[in-house]
């Protein structure tokens, strides 16, 4: 995975479509805070995705410190 090159999509539309897929009722007043959180999560995903990992680097099935 590499860091996203394109700008974020219309997150209001993404949130509405995702809510429908998830079976969630999204009150219009909640859209702005939800998309604000999505922007933070997308930035976190970009940061993690920008770190090169080989295909063989698998998640631990049961994590042990």
């Amino acid at each position: 995975m590499t860091t996203r090159d394109a700008p974020l999509p219309d997150l209001d539309a993404f949130a509405s479509a995702s809510a429908a897929l998830l079976g969630l009722s999204l009150d219009p007043a909640w859209v702005a805070p939800v998309t604000a959180n999505l922007r933070v999560l997308a930035a976190a995903a970009d940061l993690v995705g920008g770190f090169p990992l080989p295909d063989e680097a698998e998640a631990a099935p049961v994590f042990e410190a």
């Binding site: 809510a19 939800v34 933070v40 993690v48 990992l53 994590f63």
Partner: protein, 468 residues
């Protein structure tokens, strides 16, 4: 004859010694604790439930056993309370939420409550917390905010808010909290108490309401390192009821607690852990480092990415856990929690899988670091406790949301389950700060040994707030 000690303010070890040696009855200790809770808690809001009848009955039973010659246990008569996501028989496990308090009362206590009581401790109640543990502030829209005993206008930190407040106010000498991203270490810092976040998998989580299975830990908070060790040793052990509980045998820490620093190699975390906070946060680390003569600096690699990955896993697993409730009762959540959970539900799966894969890489990289060092020191929080209700703070000249950023220094550590003793530092007459004493996996003994040295030197301490 009972001595005239103020048992309502005594530490766990003192109480256990007093009860064990017959200098005080457990009932006297519990009555004193209940009276202190009744007098002081209304100003602190640490407790959501006080189990007075149960506690007094347990005290009488303990006194009867002691009178009959049965050894009363290493925590004899010690009053304790637990974050209200841990099951207490007869109470609905509300986990800080409105929704969960409609659940049937727990049929039995959580595993750690049972283990503490088997050692003689006595449960006196359940404690306030941030809703569903998705919180660093100590604010709760359903039960009211916890208030910091050292400054009632300030946050306790969360999400184990009542666990920190109850310790700092001297309501009980021992509490249990949970820590997914910092929820023991943050209130320990803001409330000026000691906390132990053990290695992931060390203490069973059976009988507690989950948040993020990949990251959830339970652990004790107290006013002394010895009390942490007493409780921790009583709670260790195998438990098939928690899928991630370790198969390692218990490794008691009390016998070696006073063995000093020896040849431990201690370093300060640089880079990510030396920026993005108020100067006092780093000054507290330096005070601890000087006391330990630790001059070396190490860089924990990719800590910012580790925090980001923890953030993603938290959002996704938390959302998956609560999806049905988000579908049916979204208006009954704290809005700040609901909006984050809804966003987490919308995360594309590859983002989360990538975070889990990164976690394994990061675990290996930090393990390599521990080949060359035994202890790493880092700030617990980027600042002292902010005023309650504050939504943004400025760190290094950047305005950031408080709720999401208090855990900036704790998240990269719990992400891979490292054990941490959180120690309280008082730089001046103001509110306390916290320092993380971080050890290699399964080396709680090392973290607590160092914390004990710092306590004996007087570098760290957990005084009771002078409230009444």
């Amino acid at each position: 004859m009972e001595q005239s000690t103020d048992w309502s303010r005594a530490e766990a070890g003192s109480i256990a010694a007093g009860v064990g040696q017959g200098r005080v009855r457990a009932r006297t200790v519990i009555e004193a604790a209940l009276a202190r809770i009744a007098r002081i808690d209304p100003a602190i809001n640490a407790f959501t439930d006080v189990t007075a009848d149960r506690a007094l009955a347990a005290a009488d039973a303990l006194d009867a056993r002691t009178a009959a010659g049965t050894p009363p246990g290493p925590l004899a008569g010690v009053p304790f309370a637990v974050k209200n996501l841990i099951d207490c028989a007869g109470l609905p496990t509300r986990a800080g939420s409105k929704i969960n308090r409609e659940r049937a009362p727990a049929g039995r206590d959580g595993a750690l409550v049972r283990r503490l009581e088997a050692a003689g401790a006595i449960l006196v109640g359940a404690l306030n917390m941030g809703e569903y543990a998705y919180d660093f502030t100590g604010e709760n829209v359903h039960d009211g905010d916890s208030r910091n005993p050292h400054g009632a206008g300030h946050m306790t930190g969360g999400s184990s808010s009542g666990s920190g407040g109850a310790i700092a106010a001297g309501l009980v000498p021992l509490t249990l909290g949970s820590d997914t991203n910092g929820s023991i270490r943050v209130p320990s810092a803001f409330c000026g108490c000691f906390g132990l976040k053990p290695t992931y998998g060390r203490l069973t989580r059976a009988g507690s309401f989950p948040f993020v299975n990949s990251l959830d830990h339970l652990g004790p908070m107290a006013r002394s390192v010895a009390d942490l060790a007493l409780a921790y040793d009583a709670m260790q052990g195998l438990d098939p009821d928690d899928a991630v509980a370790t198969a390692r045998p218990a490794e008691p820490v009390l016998p070696g607690l006073d063995s000093g620093l020896g040849d431990l190699r201690i370093a300060v975390a640089g880079g990510y852990f030396a920026r993005g906070g108020d100067p006092e946060a780093f000054a507290a680390v330096q005070v601890v480092a000087r006391a330990l003569s630790a001059t070396r600096v190490v860089e924990i690699p990719e800590a910012a990415r580790a925090r980001a990955a923890a953030y993603l896993i938290t959002a996704a697993e938390g959302a998956a856990l609560h999806l049905d409730r988000l579908r049916t009762r979204p208006e009954d959540f704290d809005p700040a929690v609901r909006d984050r959970l809804i966003a987490g539900a919308m995360l594309p799966a590859p983002f989360v899988e990538r975070a889990q894969r990164f976690r394994r890489w990061y675990r290996g990289a930090v393990a390599d670091l521990f080949a060359d060092v035994d202890v790493i020191l880092a700030p617990s929080t980027p600042c002292r406790a902010p005023p309650r209700g504050q939504t943004h703070f400025t760190l290094d000249g950047v305005s950031l949301p408080v709720r999401a950023n208090i855990g900036v220094f704790t998240q990269p550590i719990s992400f891979i389950g490292l054990p941490v003793a959180a120690v309280p530092v008082w730089l001046d007459g103001g509110l306390p700060l916290g320092v993380q004493v971080i050890a290699a996996p399964w080396r709680e003994d090392v973290a607590l040994r160092v914390a004990r040295v710092l306590e004996r030197l007087g570098t760290v301490r957990a005084p009771i707030a002078e409230l009444v």
